[in-house]
């Protein structure tokens, strides 16, 4: 009668020094294993961090019309995808407002695995009218780990005893780790070199043990959500219910966003068979979206000055924040948007944020002001619009 634990829980629980857990899709996962998430963050960028991402919703879509079903649902063109490809894609309602985002793995021409942040079983079924397709929720049956960082490939090559250089960005392959059958996909939520490892829940613990044993020599570090959150902001990756409200949960129209407003215009296929929201998205593209999703870099001097005014050194958000913060046109009180996530990048030495801005203010370099609370008083810190991602290492795709 309590929250669910993931198949890796027997291993992750003893690691948790601060008993810092958080909820994710009805499961408990570690916020951080150490008392601070700092070491875990640096493992992502410096060695390899191991995340338990089992709470993701996972659906197997199979049958003659499996591809057609997914093509009806998502904005990207599934028909053009190759076997072994993984597509990151949003999906929308009839008005072109984003419901959720996730990945679709093309396992073969009749078998697809979809992952999502929110439940989508019913939505898939509603879209499957008159199609020959089976949809199975395999969330509980499938455990998942994410191994992210510059050493991730070396660890997996050793553990799987094979060369993985051929496995390109957003491609997947079947493999075995110490005899355990897994699917490896070169994907992740950190914007770094990384892989996600999909395994039958029954084999979760031996897999964990194998990776930890192999990874020890490469600095493998179990990491929690706090570290991940900093990395994903650096990578400019969206988080549902933080950076946008699912159109399914929105209570009023203005809470909804379209993929074009969320920086996902590249995922909206210009030419594909009919899908949910197509007409609305084409119309929106033609007139230009009213909003853009951008990065903000807070001006250090401005920040320092605001604190100096009250006699303090700058205080920096060492964990990422997830609140809504007003953004103003430079030097005015006119609000032109709001930031939804932000934090200090220990790697880039930069105060960064993800923000929704009215389109006229969204081109990179535009100077704006973000609200910052300094010693109980609301102030405006100078900032400028940055191209996303903030951090984009070559190794991510190489």
């Amino acid at each position: 009668m309590s929250l669910r634990t993931t198949p890796f829980h027997p291993r992750t629980a003893p690691l948790s020094e601060g008993h810092a857990w958080r909820r994710w899709a009805g499961y408990v996962v570690a916020s951080a294993y150490d008392l601070s998430h700092e070491r875990e963050y640096h493992a992502i960028r410096n060695a390899a961090a191991l995340f338990d991402v089992s709470p993701l919703y996972k659906y197997m879509v199979t049958g003659v019309d499996a591809g057609r079903l997914l093509d009806r649902v998502v904005t990207r063109d599934i028909a053009k995808a190759k076997i072994g490809q993984v597509l990151y894609t949003p999906w929308c309602d009839a008005e072109g407002k984003q419901i959720d985002d996730g990945t679709i793995s093309v396992l073969d021409e009749r078998t697809y695995r979809m992952t999502s942040a929110d439940p989508n079983l019913r939505w898939l079924h509603l879209n499957a009218a008159a199609l020959d397709v089976a949809i199975e929720d395999v969330s509980e049956r499938t455990a998942a780990l994410s191994l992210q960082g510059p050493n991730a490939r070396a660890i997996l090559e050793t553990a799987a005893e094979r060369d993985l250089r051929g496995l390109k960005y957003f491609r997947l392959t079947a493999a075995a780790i110490r005899g355990i059958p897994v699917t490896l996909s070169r994907t992740g939520y950190t914007g770094d070199l990384g892989y996600e490892i999909w395994v039958d829940a029954g084999s979760a613990l031996p897999l964990w043990d194998a990776l930890i044993a192999t990874g020890a020599a490469y600095g493998i570090t179990p990491a929690g959500i706090l570290a991940l959150d900093v990395a994903r902001i650096e990578a400019g990756l969206l988080l549902i219910e933080v950076d946008y409200v699912s159109s399914r949960h929105a209570l009023i129209e203005s809470q909804k966003s379209s993929p074009l407003e969320l920086g996902l215009g590249w995922t909206v296929a210009a030419d594909k068979a009919r899908y949910n929201g197509q007409a609305a998205l084409h119309a929106e593209r033609a007139r230009g979206p009213a909003w853009q999703f951008v990065g903000l870099s807070v001006n250090w001097d401005s920040l320092e000055q605001l604190y100096a005014d009250v006699g303090l050194p700058p205080r920096l958000p060492t964990t990422a924040w997830r609140t809504s913060v007003p953004v103003y046109a430079e030097g005015t009180r006119r609000q032109i948007g709001y930031a939804t996530s932000g934090g200090w990048s220990p790697l880039l030495k930069q105060y960064m944020a993800l923000a929704h801005l009215e389109s006229p203010f969204a081109s990179p370099g535009t100077r704006v002001a973000m609200e910052i609370t300094v010693e109980h008083h609301r102030r405006q810190a100078a900032a400028h619009v940055s191209a996303l991602p903030f951090f984009n290492p070559e190794r991510k795709r190489a």
């Binding site: 009839a94 939505w123 509603l126 009218a129 949910n276």
Partner: protein
């Protein structure tokens, strides 16, 4: 002008076809079945149809007495009926004329709603708003009592309504049966009073059974449209949000057309073009309630029946109990049965039947009609095949029919229209949906 294909040589299909043809459009009616159905059409024929389409030889049959429920007989003449009722209840007889007048006035309000597309409550269009206002004024002009009656009676159960007026079980049973006609509801179900009024639309005061007519046969004989029979299943083709034509199965012939008007069940029609529809729309269409609980029977007669229309529904409780069975998926042991004299046989309506044992239903009907079981033939209800392509419940009428928000005969697919009884104003009103649909199609040009 674009040529039109009309699916189904039903009354509504033919009416729509003739209205389109009259405006110079080449029209082909595709009828899946090979033979013409000889049975008469049940339901009010709006006089405007005969006038506008110039129909000849239209015969509308209404027996007198229009219903026999021994020992009671009900006549077209209100005073004669009252006389007959007096023998079982003087109190009811005294109330009969008033009841007939009140019901007729309310049915008149519905009648006005039925010969046009359903009111669009969300409209911002000026013309629509004037229409709404005119309707509002019309209703208010009927007077306070009519307005209150309407508001109070529509959501009511026919049992509550009749209990307010009458004491005789027999009379209430015979009248109450019309309230549950083709519904998976008992007389105590809310909204059955509306179903009662719906079937009273167009009737003479004091007549609570629909007339039967040869409207379909007359329409078939009226020149102006091409009628292709025996084409088999018609599958509608659509692509890119636009209707492309009809594929005939099993022949495989494709008839291209950018305008297709379907008088078939909306659910079947929309299923053909599911790939073109939004999931929420499909969900709404999938939610159309069309639970068939009526078996059709035929009784071969050795000698002519002593009645033209016989009703066996001796009380409201009888009807309610008959309904109880079907709630749990069983056929009623004591069904409501109504028999109509036709040429040398009886057409029989048997309600409530789920899908059980035809032999048992046959036996029950034989007992009730006092004939030998061997004389009775029974067609069990096919699941989901509702005579009206959707039950007449308050959530499935007016702007909610067939799919909420899509009540104006259009579909999300350009060039595909609906015109069958699944659309407003629905079954039991012969041809009104077809006429309304054709007028909307012509508006779209």
């Amino acid at each position: 002008m674009t040529a039109a294909l009309v699916i189904g040589a039903s009354v509504n299909g033919l009416v729509a076809a003739h209205y389109l043809a009259r405006r110079g459009r080449p029209v082909t009616v595709l009828e899946p079945r090979a033979d013409s159905d000889p049975t008469l059409e049940t339901g009010w024929v709006p006089p405007v149809l005969a006038r506008e389409l110039g129909l000849r030889h239209l015969e509308i049959a209404l027996p007198d007495p229009w219903l026999t429920a021994p020992p009671l007989a009900l006549f077209r003449d209100i005073a004669t009926s009252a006389e007959a009722i007096r023998r079982i209840s003087p109190a009811d007889a005294a109330r009969w004329p008033d009841f007939c007048a009140r019901m007729h006035r309310l049915a008149g309000v519905l009648e006005r709603l039925y010969l046009r597309p359903p009111p669009d409550l969300e409209t911002r269009a000026l013309g629509e708003l004037f229409g709404l206002a005119a309707l509002g004024l019309h209703v208010r002009r009927l007077g306070k009592q009519a307005l209150i009656d309407l508001a109070r009676i529509l959501p009511m159960s026919i049992a509550d309504l009749l209990d307010d007026w009458f004491e005789s079980d027999l009379l209430k049973g015979a009248l109450g049966a019309l309230g549950v006609w083709h519904l998976k509801q008992g007389p105590r179900g809310g909204g059955t009073a509306f179903n009662f009024l719906h079937h009273h639309v167009g009737s003479a005061p004091g007549v609570f059974r629909p007339a039967r007519s040869n409207l379909r046969q007359v329409l078939e004989a009226t020149p102006g449209v091409t009628l292709r029979r025996g084409v088999g299943r018609c599958r509608i083709l659509a692509e890119g949000g636009q209707t492309r034509g009809v594929l005939l199965e099993p022949s495989g012939e494709t008839v291209a057309a950018s305008l297709v008007v379907s008088s078939a069940d909306p659910r079947a029609t929309l299923r053909d073009v599911a790939g073109e529809l939004d999931p929420e729309f499909l969900r709404a269409a999938g939610n159309i309630k069309a639970r068939n609980v009526v078996a059709r029977g035929t009784v071969r007669l050795d000698r002519p029946a002593g009645y033209a229309a016989l009703c066996h529904a001796p009380s409201l409780d009888y009807l309610e109990k008959a309904y109880d069975a079907v709630k749990y998926g069983r056929d009623s042991d004591a069904p409501y049965v109504e028999a109509y004299r036709a040429n040398g046989h009886l057409d029989v309506h048997i309600q409530y039947v789920a899908a059980g044992d035809p032999a048992a239903v046959q036996r029950r009907v034989a007992e009730i009609l006092a004939v030998a079981p061997s004389q009775v033939g029974v067609d069990m209800p096919a699941d989901g095949e509702h005579l009206y392509h959707g039950e007449f419940t308050l959530d499935q009428i007016l702007f909610m029919r067939p799919v909420p928000g899509w009540s104006r005969y259009r579909t999300p697919v350009r060039g595909l229209y609906l015109c069958g009884p699944g659309t407003h104003p629905g079954g039991g009103i012969a041809g009104a949906a077809g006429r309304n649909a054709a007028r909307e199609i012509l508006k779209d040009g």
